[in-house]
């Protein structure tokens, strides 16, 4: 019986926790901090992974393998390129959609992600269509034995995760971040205070997208092979939403914790599959999906703020403080109430 405490297994587990945590942090910038209901995460995931694949792979050689470029560039370029591509994509999508009502924005983002997926499937010249891209190179591969490579990648993932986390935390505590939170709370009041709501939303949208692109690139280099199916709506979007909701949206620690908990549940049940009587095996994959679905509904019903809940606000919103004071002189002063 395979021991759960096998270091190799733990390393694989943590790598994916780290990658999903990056996605979750990106989504948190969108939804948790700014209130952008982005249901097209899978789109950024895919663009990130494909961009790094195209940038870092060697040019295609076989007759049956087609994709643009294959530029053989280093990992860092792939990573940054993935982020940039997603940032540009966010800019393009954002212009017509960010001013839409929340639910329409969600539907629009679903549509964008789905359209992108079909583009990747149908346009073979772009990224090899349904066959996908294989042989994505891994950074620092030559350094160690292939069987030990994952420890190196784990370190890489953790470094990137920490950088992203710190960058977001800095951003959120800054005046810029405060405006974002004000927008999430009450868009009309924020707008009345004179800030361009649209510009701020766009900045947050692009930032979150860049992060998701980086996550996509990290994922691509880890799994080495991607196809359009890799970015199906379940894993690409829904899964990450579950992580954020479970961990606590509006909270960077929550985003990371959610990734850990949900991925933990997923792999934990995976372990059960591998050690359960045959016959149940095929069905258990779907039982896991069922559990994840029930998990998010359950959390929303019982503890909608997630495990960690939103961060306590240490600073007050732009304009809201003075407004409250003039309206209710007898009301309690101080930090705004929670959702």
């Amino acid at each position: 019986m395979e021991s759960l405490l096998n270091p190799s297994y733990i390393a694989s587990f943590l790598i994916l926790v780290g990658i999903y945590a990056v996605f979750s942090l990106g989504l948190n910038v969108h939804w948790g901090y700014t209130g952008i209901f982005n249901f097209g995460v899978a789109g950024f995931f895919a663009v990130g992974a494909y961009t790094t694949a195209i940038l870092t792979k060697e040019p295609s050689t076989g007759q049956y393998v087609e994709y643009i470029g294959g530029f053989g560039l280093p990992y860092v370029v792939g990573l940054l390129g993935a982020g940039a591509a997603c940032g540009i994509l966010a800019l393009i999508i954002g212009i017509p959609t960010l001013s839409l009502r929340e639910d329409y924005l969600a539907i629009a983002t679903i549509g964008v992600a789905e359209t992108l997926r079909r583009v990747f499937i149908n346009e073979r010249w772009l990224a090899n269509g349904t066959r996908g891209m294989i042989g994505i190179p891994q950074p620092l591969h030559g350094l160690v034995d292939p069987s030990d490579y994952k420890y190196i990648y784990l370190v890489i993932v953790m470094i990137i995760l920490v950088i992203v986390y710190v960058a977001i935390e800095r951003g959120i505590r800054s005046p810029w971040g405060r405006v974002l939170r004000a927008i999430r709370e009450d868009e009309m009041t924020a707008a009345a205070s004179g800030k361009s709501v649209f510009a701020f939303k766009m900045q947050a949208f692009v930032l979150g997208a860049v992060i998701m692109g980086i996550g996509g690139a990290m994922y691509g280099h880890y799994v080495k092979a991607i196809t359009p199916d890799t970015f199906a709506p379940f894993f690409g979007t829904f899964f990450i939403w579950v992580m954020l909701v479970v961990g606590g949206s509006g909270n960077s620690k929550g985003a990371v914790l959610g990734a850990f908990v949900v991925w933990g549940i997923w792999t934990g049940t995976d372990w059960i599959i591998n050690h359960s009587p045959g016959g149940l095996e095929t069905r258990i994959f779907y039982i896991r999906n069922l559990l994840i679905g029930l998990l998010i509904v359950g959390v929303l019903l019982v503890r909608p703020k997630g495990i960690l809940g939103e961060e306590k606000r240490v600073s007050l919103y732009v304009g809201k403080e003075s407004e409250k004071e003039s309206a209710a002189p007898t009301g309690p002063p101080g930090a705004a109430g929670s959702d």
């Binding site: 209901f37 249901f39 017509p96 959609t97 839409l100 009502r101 929340e102 639910d103 329409y104 969600a106 539907i107 629009a108 679903i110 549509g111 964008v112 789905e114 359209t115 079909r118 583009v119 499937i121 149908n122 709506p233 379940f234 829904f238 939403w241 579950v242 909701v245 095929t282 069905r283 779907y286 039982i287 999906n289 069922l290 994840i292 679905g293 029930l294 998990l295 998010i296 509904v297 929303l300 019903l301 909608p304």
Partner: protein, 294 residues
């Protein structure tokens, strides 16, 4: 070309039934039910489960057992939809949850329903009846299978019933009133929770029927409803959320556009066509064709 338009109308009528159910619910509970496609799927599969006996009704591919299966499935999905509302959405409503929370929970329930279908029936394609039906030739060189005529006809009849329900019955008027202004409905003394439950039942029934017709038209797969989600939303929003006539018109536009688009682009892009239409209407006239400017 005419052939494509006609096929588009058949597809459109399947989408219409789903979209009408979606828009009725959307108008009354005010959130996007991302689980609607999976209600369609569950209808199709429950009918599959309840289908007994073979035979043929005239030139159709199925026998009277199918009619019974349709009735059973439609009622079952109606009950399922109401149950989900009572268990999930109503508690959230009581807590004054925002429409985003409700939408996310609907996505979760969509996953739950779909997973159950996968678990019970597995991922492989299923068919109500095996064998290929031959198309009949109609005027103008249109080729239609008798099943497709059945689909179009059934959809038409059902839509007439929906119209009668909404405009000639007390319940229907109360549904429209609640959709207009839920607070005012409550102020008038209407038990809006009961109206909401009935709306879910009707919306669910329409979704279930739509799924079955889709299954007759092609085949059953656990993803069948989810794949239609974008076209369903496109139709509902194009027509104006809350307006069943709008959903019908929107569905026809979506259905026909999707089929006609295959003249120029790959069929793999059909949902993308629906999305483009949706996008266009959101930019140009977000309240939809029949919607009122808020």
């Amino acid at each position: 070309m005419i052939q494509l338009v006609v096929i588009g109308m058949i597809v459109g009528s399947v989408i219409a039934l789903g979209a009408i159910g979606l828009t009725l619910v959307y108008g009354v509970v005010k959130f996007a039910n991302f689980g609607h496609g999976d209600l369609m799927t569950s209808g199709a599969y429950i009918a599959f489960f309840a289908l007994f006996g073979g035979g043929h009704i005239g030139p159709l591919s199925f026998g009277y057992g199918m009619i019974l299966a349709i009735l059973v499935a439609v009622i079952a999905v109606a009950v399922l939809a109401v149950a989900i509302d009572w268990l999930v959405y109503r508690p959230l409503r009581k807590r004054k949850a925002g429409l985003v929370i409700l939408a996310i929970s609907s996505l979760g329930m969509a996953m739950v329903v779909r997973s159950l279908v996968y678990i019970i029936w597995g991922p492989d394609q299923r068919f109500y009846v095996l064998g290929i039906q031959r198309a009949r030739e109609l005027p103008f060189g249109i080729m239609l299978k008798p099943d497709q005529m059945f689909i179009g006809g059934t959809a038409l009849v059902v839509m007439v019933f929906v119209y009668l329900l909404l405009y000639r019955t007390r319940l229907g008027k109360a549904m429209r009133a609640t959709s207009d202004n839920v607070e005012l409905a409550r102020i008038s003394g209407i038990d809006t929770e009961r109206i909401i439950s009935w709306t879910w039942a009707i919306g669910g029934a329409l979704a279930g029927l739509s799924g079955i017709l889709l299954g007759i038209q092609s085949h059953l797969m656990p993803e069948m409803g989810f794949i239609l989600l974008l076209p369903l939303f496109a139709a509902a929003i194009l027509g104006g959320v809350g307006s069943p006539q709008g959903a019908l018109v929107g569905a026809m536009i979506v259905g026909i556009s999707q089929e006609v688009s295959t003249e120029w682009i790959s069929p793999g892009y059909k949902p993308a066509v629906a999305f483009m239409l949706l996008f266009a209407i959101l930019l140009v006239r977000p309240q939809g064709l029949f919607g009122a400017k808020t």
